[in-house]
Symmetry: C2
């Protein structure tokens, strides 16, 4: 029986060495987060293209399909809403308030991902067609928390605001 | 030498079993994220109390000390700013625009953490003293991405907006 002891010791040593990756060093964690963030950014930029495509076509149900079922949307000048029906209502209201032919563009500026969570920070531009002459633009920024659900990134939290006071106050 | 083989097999088995946590199951990941989020929420609520204490006392440098050195702050009606000097400028501007005796309160509604990243969603209330009668309140929501730096949670991204249109437009 005594020959068992060294093998147990060896097994323990083996476990200690092989499990090292489970306790990441700060450098290893940084490298992993960078790789995960780069990969998430590619996926999120593709989803943003789908989002603006749907939004600009007035396809509200398709916009809503990019959110999780428990998502919270936090528009400026309106209370926060949670859940698909309320989110659909927000986008329907926004669609009805926007001049016809307005187009939204999104630009991701930073994506930080760790496992099933990603945080995107970016800027948005809304281009509003003019009756005559050049279109006008409004600009702002946003933060979106994405969550991976069944292998797909979906929006869990979405907040944005404008870079300038609303035209009603700025123009007076 | 042949008695070594069983010990190697035993060591391999030991590694396979002991390293299981490195490849988390979805349930294990959910449980870990919940535990980390609960723990982060306690720390973040304590930091929010410090934040509002500093903010309401006009201690701008102390407010800025709660942000990382590369943080981005995204106030409504102003462009996004990055870095301590610019963030100090934003809070100095806000302080000069707020009526004397105004107080900010923050309420965390959700904290999602994974390792060194935490996302807080919450609501804010600004109470503005009236010349006579009851004070007025404005309300809004915010999302903050926190990052653990040298063991301390610090704000890396901060965005907020209001629940109602600004008084200049709403009151006319």
């Amino acid at each position: 029986m005594s020959i068992r002891f060294p093998s147990v010791a060896f097994a323990t040593l083996g476990v200690a060495v092989a499990c090292q990756p489970a306790a990441e060093s700060p450098d290893q964690q940084r490298a992993r987060l960078e790789a995960e963030s780069d990969s998430a950014r590619v996926a999120i930029e593709a989803l943003n293209a789908r989002f603006t495509g749907f939004f600009n076509a007035g396809q509200t149900d398709s916009v809503v399909s990019l959110y999780t079922s428990t998502a919270t949307v936090m528009p400026p000048a309106m209370p926060a809403v949670t859940g698909a029906d309320s989110i659909r209502g927000v986008f329907a209201t926004m669609g009805s308030m926007m001049p016809k032919g307005s187009t939204l563009a999104l630009r991701a500026q930073s994506v930080v991902a760790n496992g099933p969570i990603a945080v995107e920070r970016g800027s948005w531009t809304m281009t509003i067609p003019a009756e005559a002459g050049a279109p006008t633009e409004s600009h702002g920024k946003y933060v979106v928390m994405w969550r991976k659900v069944d292998g797909e990134w979906r929006i869990e939290e979405d907040i944005w605001n404008e870079d300038t006071p609303p035209p009603d106050t700025a123009g007076q």
